[in-house]
Amino acid sequence: MEAVEHSPNTPLEYQTETGRLNILGFWIFLGAEIALFSTLFATYLVLVGRTADGPGPAELFEISGVLIETFLLLTSSFTCGLAIHYMRNHSLKGVFLWIGITLALGLGFLGFEIYEFVHYIHEGAALTTSAYWSAFFVLVGTHGAHVTLGIGWIILILIQLKQRGLTPDTSRKVFISSLYWHFLDVVWIFIFTAVYLYGMVM
């Protein structure tokens, strides 16, 4: 299963049968994730405006915090891409450096998001306030939970990189986690547009 011919230019993560299968499987998993987030977006858009007696989004959303979050997450996607670039060049040091920066940016994003959530709750907009805020917190919160899980997962992979160096197995894991990270970035772009920009002009 493991020993399959490959050209010398084949990236490490694609050199084994397991690597190729797992990467394809993860792409399909991301397809399922698209279905999951689509459902959440549809729910959110259906419930827009149903704020009952609570505040509406236009009263609470502030562009500055959201822009910082967006900047942090989008940059982290770029640094994550750099990490893969260094992985392809077999530079373990480069991988550690750029994944480290990616995680730091991800943590920064999470920090601002948590601050934003706490702020809304103080202003009287919580999960229990109205259908609109339920949909808001669950949609944006699901994305945030994905980021949190991703950070934990990537830390585990870093430990394995430390133990084993760059092998077909570890680089497969790094590559798959990078697919996940870029996917979260794409989802955020939709959240930024459909939730925040749309919410502010409502």
Binding site: M1, G25, A32, T43, R50, G54, T129, V138
Partner: protein, 645 residues
Amino acid sequence: MKLDEFFVTGDPLIYGADVSIALTLIGAIFALTYFKKWKWLWTEWLTTVDHKKLGIMYIIAAVLMLFRGGVDAMLMRAQLTVPDAGFLDANHYNEIFTTHGTIMIIFMAMPFLIGLINVVVPLQIGARDVAYPFLNAVSFWTFFMGAMLFNISFVIGGSPSAGWTSYVPLAGLELSPGVGQNYYLLGLQIAGIGTLLTGINFLVTILKMRVPSMKLMQMPIFTWSSLITMVIIIFAFPVLTVALALMTFDRLFGSHFFTMMDGGMPMLWANLFWIWGHPEVYIVILPAFGMFSEIISTFARKTLFGYKAMVYSMVVIAGLSFLVWVHHFFTMGAGGAVNSFFSITTMLIAVPTGVKIFNWLFTLYKGRIRFTTAMLWSLAFIPNFVIGGVTGVMLAMAAADYQYHNTYFLVAHFHYVLISGTVYACFAGLHFWYPKMFNHRLNERLGKWTFWIFVAGFNLCFFPMYFLGLAGMPRRVYTYGIGDGWMSLNVLATMGGVLMGIGFLILVYNIYYSFRYSPRETTGDPWDGRTLEWSTPAPVPHYNFAHLPEVKGHDAFWIMKEEIKQGKKPEKKPYKPIHMPSYSGVPVVMSVFFFIAGFGMVFSWNWMSILGLIGVLATMVIRSFDYDKGFYVSVEEIEEHEKTT
């Protein structure tokens, strides 16, 4: 919480169930200890990643669930036989139809089919295992623990009672304040994880693990039906995941997605549920179509008529399955334009389905038909399914649906498609592939008794329901008055239900009888089969194929046999070591933690749910650090296996 709130009390039926559960558990523990089988159970079954064994476990679990769901059905029939019966009260009746529906769809039909897919598909495509054997075990165990969580509800805490569709506000906190609805949400959520993983696993398996010589358009039709089913699973199940999660949030954390107050939208639940729910019915019918195609082709001794049309019609059905969901609630007032759209898409599904029916008929045409049990089920399927399909088109007409909606006409329709489609297929497939799983056939004589009694009972039970529906009997009522005039047809239906129960018992006896007395298989090809699974020896070695088979067209094994008949000698090639995955205890332990977390959430015991989730995460970390590469089956072991066949 007091103990008498924790355990369900007051009903003699429940006490009976308590006693039988306790006795079964004690009996199982005693038997395992007495025969010293604990180690065997752990090393051979609980930790297995072998697709054949997982498939068998799926099927055993599904048959148990068929029994449970069947008992529910018998209780309902007992209550409805005569007017004003006092056997079950309204609430108990509600609980029973809810668990009956949920169990039959989620925990019987799907695992039965997924079990057969597990056993058969890798063998049909010449693979030695699935793409992700470990994940396959996770799939099974999460399904199993989800099913167990749902099933204990009737003795601990109380069953859900808002119907398997769980429409809000009935399923909301105010009208369903107990823990029953939580069981529904958590049980389905945990089992749904397994289903999604199965979808990904088998999609990749079929695309990437086929023997290199098998082209897509040479795949056996059952494999094609499984492939298309997996695509539906991957896009439909996340919707259920979200819908269940949102209702869980509503009930446990006070959000307002589906509530009547604070902007909630009860209709949103109905939409989300059926955006998953309608594709779901195709998830349980497409593999059934695939099985019937294989069986009809084998026992008509002809290549399947219109193979490509069969594939494309399934693709079209899969696409349309996502565009028809509103027909489940035409009467909720979405307006003429919306109803017309969904009315037309629904009717369109009859076109590819009709193509398939005619292809089966043309496969039979001029075939030399052998009337085995599996074939009988397949032949009975065609007329019965047509009845279900035609009444489905009647229901699809939105205006007419205002008359049929929520009556026994609908009940009759969906039992006609689900039983004569899915259940007949499960029985047909079980008889057909039984020798691949257990190395002996089911007794044909007993099989035919089961067939005739069950099919007669089925038609006697459900055909009168069409007329009950037209006479105005609503579904989900726990009783009716003598003046309604529904008694005689209800008596007929109950008699049919009893016959179906007897048929099932004969099947169970057949399993025991065949285990004792059936001659063991020697060839691995008991039915003169056409596809690659019949080329494997009996018993199937754990690595499936010593040499990867060579595929030269449709019905690859048939072609091989023809070549041998024409005097071609199979060449002897030397064996090479075969790589296989290691067994692992992580999936079952992880799923137990899922169960603990789910149970904690059902009762809002946060410490328990957190403990369970920590356990789940811990097992994931253990898995992440596991670099086990599997092992190689030595040439000596392969020679040993192949010598005996």
